[in-house]
C-alpha cells in the first residue's frame, strides 16, 4: 500500500464525482473537523471508492494561534507556561525540551538532583501518555469505555503526583533554565514509588484484556503498514518509527540529561502495523518503569537550580541552538536564535505530532474508513501541538 519515496506526491484532488467509469464513482467527504476520533479539531479530506480510501489529505490550522510569533514577542521564561499548552498531555516533557534548548543556547549546567527529577517526571509523563493513547485507540475500535477508563484511572494517580509537585495536573510549568522550580514535597518520592510499584499490575491487566484479544488482533494486525524506508525519509519518530523496526531513540542517541546512567531497552517492531505500534507502547511503558525504579533509587540530595542561572534579566549571547528530546509523541525540538536581547529572535517548535502525520495518507490508502480511524489513533497526536 505504500509507494516508493521518490515518486511525486499527488498533484491535486479529483473533482467531487467522476462519472462514466467502470470502477464506479469516487466520493469526496470531509472527516472532521469535529469527528470524535480526532481528539480535537482536525479534518481529513478523503476520497472514497466505496468504502476504500483512495486519497487522504489532512487539513490543519483550526487551533492555530501562532505560538512562535507570540514567543518571539515575550521573554524567554514567559514562554515556559505556553509550552504546556502545546501537547497538553505531556506538559513536563515540553518543559524539558524548551529548558534543554535554552540551556544549550546559554551554556547552563543542571544540578544532578534536578536531572533526576526531570527524568522521573518525564518518564511518568510517558506512562500516562502511552496508557491513554492505547485507551483512545481501543475506544476508536469500538471497545466503548472500559479500556480507556482503566487507563484514565492510572493516569489520574500520576496526575495527582504532578499536582502535588507543581500545583497543576496538566499545565505543570515546572522546569526552569538550569533546574526545576520547586523542591519535591515531603513524601512525594515514597508516593511515586507506590504508584510505580502498582503500575505493572495495571499493565498486566491491560495486556490480558487487549494483547490476545481476537477482535483487537483482527482490527490491528496487518493494518496501516508503514515501511522502514518511508518512515525514516518522512521523519517519523517515537513508537511509530520503532514499530517499523528502526532503532532510533533520542534518549539513547543523544544521551541528554542523565539517560546514559540508566539500564533500559528500546523495543522494536517488525511489521510496522497498528498492532506493532500498540505493542511498542506497552513495552515502552515497562521500560519506563525500569528507568523510574532506578531513578527513584539513586536520586541524590542537593540543589535543584544552577546557582549561575539568572531568572531576571536573562539575555543569552547572540547565537543559536537546537535542543531536542524524546517526548512520548516523538522528537520534540526547540530551535532558538538569540540576538542578545531578552526575547528570542527566532523561536521554533519542531512538532512531532505534525510531522508524524506526513505519512498518514500512505498508511491509510487502500483501507476502509473504519481502519483510517484506527490508524489515525496510533499516530498519537495532540492538536495543540499540530497547529501551535
Amino acid at each position: 500500500m505504500t509507494r516508493s519515496i521518490t515518486e511525486p506526491i499527488d498533484e491535486e484532488l479529483p473533482p467531487n464525482f467522476t462519472h462514466g467509469d467502470d470502477e464506479g464513482e469516487l466520493l469526496e467527504i470531509a472527516l472532521g473537523p469535529h469527528h470524535p476520533s480526532t481528539h480535537g479539531v482536525f479534518r481529513m479530506d478523503v476520497v472514497l471508492d466505496g468504502e476504500r480510501v483512495v486519497k487522504l489529505k489532512p487539513v490543519f490550522g483550526y487551533l492555530h494561534r501562532n505560538h512562535e510569533k507570540i514567543a518571539e514577542t515575550a521573554s524567554y521564561l514567559s514562554s515556559m507556561p505556553y509550552t504546556d499548552r502545546l501537547d497538553y498531555m505531556c506538559s513536563l516533557s515540553n518543559n524539558w525540551a524548551y529548558a534543554l534548548a535554552v540551556e544549550k543556547l546559554a551554556g547552563l549546567q543542571v544540578p544532578e538532583r534536578a536531572e533526576y527529577i526531570r527524568v522521573i517526571t518525564a518518564e511518568l509523563t510517558r506512562l500516562q501518555n502511552h496508557a491513554s493513547t492505547i485507551g483512545f485507540l481501543t475506544q476508536e475500535m469500538g471497545a466503548s469505555g472500559t479500556p480507556l477508563m482503566y487507563a484514565f484511572r492510572e493516569r489520574e494517580k500520576i496526575l495527582d503526583l504532578f499536582e502535588s509537585l507543581t500545583g497543576s495536573r496538566m499545565m505543570c510549568n515546572y522546569m526552569r533554565f538550569g533546574g526545576c522550580r520547586v523542591e519535591l514535597p515531603s513524601g512525594w518520592l515514597e508516593q511515586t514509588k507506590k504508584v510505580v510499584e502498582a503500575f505493572p499490575r495495571f499493565l498486566d491487566e491491560y495486556e490480558r484484556l487487549l494483547t490476545g484479544n481476537e477482535i483487537f488482533m483482527a482490527r490491528a494486525q496487518g493494518v496501516g503498514v508503514l515501511n522502514r524506508e518511508l518512515a525514516v525519509n518522512a521523519g517519523v519518530t517515537a513508537p511509530m518509527l520503532r514499530a517499523s523496526g528502526v532503532n532510533y531513540d533520542i534518549r539513547k542517541v543523544d544521551k541528554y540529561g542523565i539517560y546514559e546512567r540508566f539500564d533500559f531497552k528500546i523495543p522494536l517492531g517488525e511489521h510496522g502495523d497498528v498492532y506493532d505500534r500498540y505493542m511498542i507502547r506497552m513495552l515502552e511503558m515497562r521500560e519506563s518503569l525500569k528507568i523510574l525504579n532506578q531513578a527513584l533509587r539513586d536520586i541524590p540530595p542537593g540543589p535543584i537550580m544552577d546557582a549561575k542561572a539568572k531568572i531576571r534579566g536573562f539575555r543569552p549571547k547572540p547565537g543559536e541552538a537546537y535542543g531536542r528530546i524524546e517526548s512520548p509523541k516523538g522528537e520534540l525540538g526547540f530551535y532558538l536564535i538569540s540576538d542578545g536581547s531578552p526575547n528570542p529572535y527566532r523561536y521554533r517548535v519542531r512538532p512531532p505530532s505534525l510531522i508524524n502525520l506526513t505519512v498518514l495518507e500512505d498508511m491509510c490508502r487502500g483501507y476502509n474508513v473504519a481502519d483510517t480511524i484506527v490508524i489515525f489513533g496510533t499516530v498519537d497526536i495532540v492538536l495543540g501541538e499540530v497547529d501551535r
Binding site: G61, K104, L105, P318, T358, R388
Partner: protein, 204 residues
C-alpha cells in the same frame, strides 16, 4: 567535522559555493550556507553518501532577517577655508534583508548529527524562491508548506505547496518581522450587511 563535510561536498558538487556560518553560542552548532542553485544536489549527496548518510531531516524552519542599516563614523580630511581639517562624517551602510530556511539533518543509520544547512533568498520582496528539498526528504513536506504559509518563501519543486495553518484566502505572512496585525480579524465577507438590508425592507 563541518570543515570535512564542506570539503566532501566541494569534491562531489564542484561548482557549489559553500560558507560556514559560525555560531557564537555555547551550543557550538555551526551551520553551512549552501548556494540555492545546487541545494538539491548537495542534499542528495548528504543523504546518499555512505560516510554521512544523513537520512533524517529533522527540523525545517524559516528565519526572517530584515534590511539592516549600520552607521559608522569616518574621519574625512577636507579643505575648509583653505585649511585642511579632519571632519567626522557618518556613513550609512545598507545591507539588504533576506529570508532563510534552516534544515537540521541527522543520521538514523550512523546516529550522528546535527548538520545544519541554510539556504537564503536574494531579498524579502520579489526574489523569494528557493528549491524544495521535499523530493529528497519527505519530512520537509509539511514544514516547507508551513514556511511558505508563514514566511512567504516559494519552494520550487514542492509537490503540494499550499497554505497549511492559515486559511487559503489569507494574504499576508504572519511570521515576518514587519507583519502588521489587521484591525479586524473577520476574514470572510459576512452576510450581516445583506441581512440588515433585507430586514429593513421587511420593516418598511
Amino acid at each position: 567535522m563541518l570543515e570535512k563535510i564542506k570539503t566532501d561536498i566541494e569534491a562531489a558538487v564542484p561548482s557549489c559555493r559553500l560558507e560556514i556560518i559560525p555560531n557564537g553560542s555555547p551550543s557550538g552548532q555551526h551551520s553551512l550556507l549552501v548556494e540555492s542553485t545546487c541545494a538539491v544536489e548537495v542534499a542528495k549527496f548528504l543523504r546518499d553518501s555512505p560516510e554521512l548518510r544523513l537520512d533524517y531531516c529533522s527540523n525545517v524552519t524559516g528565519v526572517d532577517w530584515l534590511d539592516t542599516e549600520t552607521s559608522e563614523k569616518v574621519k574625512v580630511k577636507t579643505l575648509v577655508d583653505g585649511v585642511e581639517q579632519e571632519i567626522e562624517e557618518v556613513r550609512k551602510l545598507k545591507s539588504p534583508g533576506y529570508l532563510e530556511t534552516v534544515y537540521h539533518l541527522y543520521s538514523m543509520e550512523k546516529k550522528h548529527g546535527p548538520v545544519i544547512l541554510r539556504l537564503r533568498t536574494e531579498n524579502r520582496a520579489d526574489k523569494v524562491h528557493l528549491p524544495s528539498l521535499t523530493p529528497v526528504w519527505r519530512s520537509a513536506e509539511f514544514q516547507e508548506r508551513e514556511i511558505f504559509d508563514l514566511y512567504g518563501i516559494i519552494f520550487d519543486g514542492h509537490p503540494d505547496l499550499r497554505r497549511i495553518l492559515m486559511w487559503d484566502e489569507f494574504e499576508d505572512h504572519p511570521m515576518r518581522k514587519d507583519y502588521v496585525e489587521p484591525d479586524d480579524y473577520e476574514y470572510e465577507p459576512t452576510a450581516h450587511e445583506d441581512i440588515l438590508a433585507k430586514a429593513k425592507q421587511h420593516n418598511a
